[in-house]
Symmetry: C2
Amino acid sequence: VSLYLCGRLDEAEREHWRACLQQALPEESILTVLDAQTREQVDVAVVANPAPGSLQGLPQLRLIQSLWAGVDRLLSDASLPEDIPLARMVDPAMNQAMAETALWAVLSLQRGFFEYARQQQQACWRVLPQRRADELHVSVLGLGQMGAATATRLAEQGYRVHAWRTRDTGAIPGLPASVVVHAGAQALPALAARSEILINLLPLTAATRGLLNAELLAALPAGAALVNLARGAHLVESDLIAALDSGHISQAVLDVFAVEPLPGQHPFWRHPRVSLLPHAAAQTDPRSAAAVVAANVRRLRQDQPLRHLVDRRRGY
Amino acid sequence: VSLYLCGRLDEAEREHWRACLQQALPEESILTVLDAQTREQVDVAVVANPAPGSLQGLPQLRLIQSLWAGVDRLLSDASLPEDIPLARMVDPAMNQAMAETALWAVLSLQRGFFEYARQQQQACWRVLPQRRADELHVSVLGLGQMGAATATRLAEQGYRVHAWRTRDTGAIPGLPASVVVHAGAQALPALAARSEILINLLPLTAATRGLLNAELLAALPAGAALVNLARGAHLVESDLIAALDSGHISQAVLDVFAVEPLPGQHPFWRHPRVSLLPHAAAQTDPRSAAAVVAANVRRLRQDQPLRHLVDRRRGY
């Protein structure tokens, strides 16, 4: 039996992943190219958004382990083998990276650092009012691994943190008691109305696609900021541009886009109130993620329950 | 007896301070203008860098309480009454504000957010390597209230934090054990050599003026960043510009300058590797600082030892 590592990785990335996986799983054979013979041996596919069809013709396949946390692109491949367990990546280093990016965005908004950068371009020396962390209402949409890590980190810094999820699935272990948790679509408008900063960390599903639209943006208080770190398809981009241009939204921090890489002519690049990241808010770290893959592979070999399995109907 | 509130405040600021002080000290008479009669009554001067000479002719003066943490400008007034106790501001909200600004700078440097802002200006989509917090060596110069608050906050986020002070004056209460403390001029070169980010929070004294010069910058590793949040006179500005232009220093975050407001023609405004703040890294918060002033005034009235007294020879 063998592992098959495949997906959209350049040569250096693929070799780094292969080396980290081999170190974590010295007993396994790891393939990056298949022939007619090795095709018969693959029982685990370790995938980074492989080209559609890549996982067909693997008769022994028993586990598809994603290297990425988001599996919406993977699930959009109609040829993805059905009935094979599919596991998401849950990498502690990636969760921390996401919490860092969110904290940087919140600090920048709280303390006016985006505005100071604009002032610098005008050689304008003007001190802005200084707000305390415990005066700022920050809401996090999504309470998966990354949403929970982010809400926790923000609460630790003293912000007033609310969190929202699509449905109540019980207590979140480790979430600070100061984080107020809301659930369900009916709770969203009231939460939005008190969110000076809204951070999106939802999974992309049929239920969350386009959630960040004109209606939700209008429900935010005047001068609020939007931070989208999840998926471009959560956001109706033209609605955001309208809300920025009207002044209702004072700043957006965007890491993800409907089309990536963002086309060079897209208005986000030059918008003075958009801070733009190239889908870099949180990357999987091969050093820690390889251990996560290894743990699931060993569970498979020992017929133990697999971790972080995706509910394909739910979409995450 | 009366309090005299004076210094470089605009009308709104002066009124806000007066109201906060009056609320914290309802039993005291607070004056913002003096005449021949009230001059005789003032025993406490609450000062925000008053014009030189402002504190002369106050025969009952027993305490000068600064509203600002830095007293270098106050001490440079040769007419400042001698032998009157002088207290610095130690405002918990200001300490936290400074720690926030330092954390924002460190997060921005760790995760490439200054570089991503430059890339945005070029419509360049390029993901940078992602470093973990525990891989980054950050050094804090100065272990007063703001240096200690900053070193603590950074250690809490997982950075490898070293701190340096001009001399060893014993343990710092509350400083995490993970913060490695160094003391004395002889320890500085070795510390600099391991500092990927150097944050200055020293008081400005004869011993620290010009400390951030070509020699110290050259001792930092190639690609290091400088964050000056203390005083402009700590830095030899032309040395920094040379180090930035040679590429040895990759980024500077500057809040303070030799001349403030920074003149419009100064090269820092337009330098692509300078992030500039208008002396806004940490402002005293009148709401919390008024309680600090009140506590010292009550100690004076009750003949108890005063807090946060400045050693005028030492300069802080």
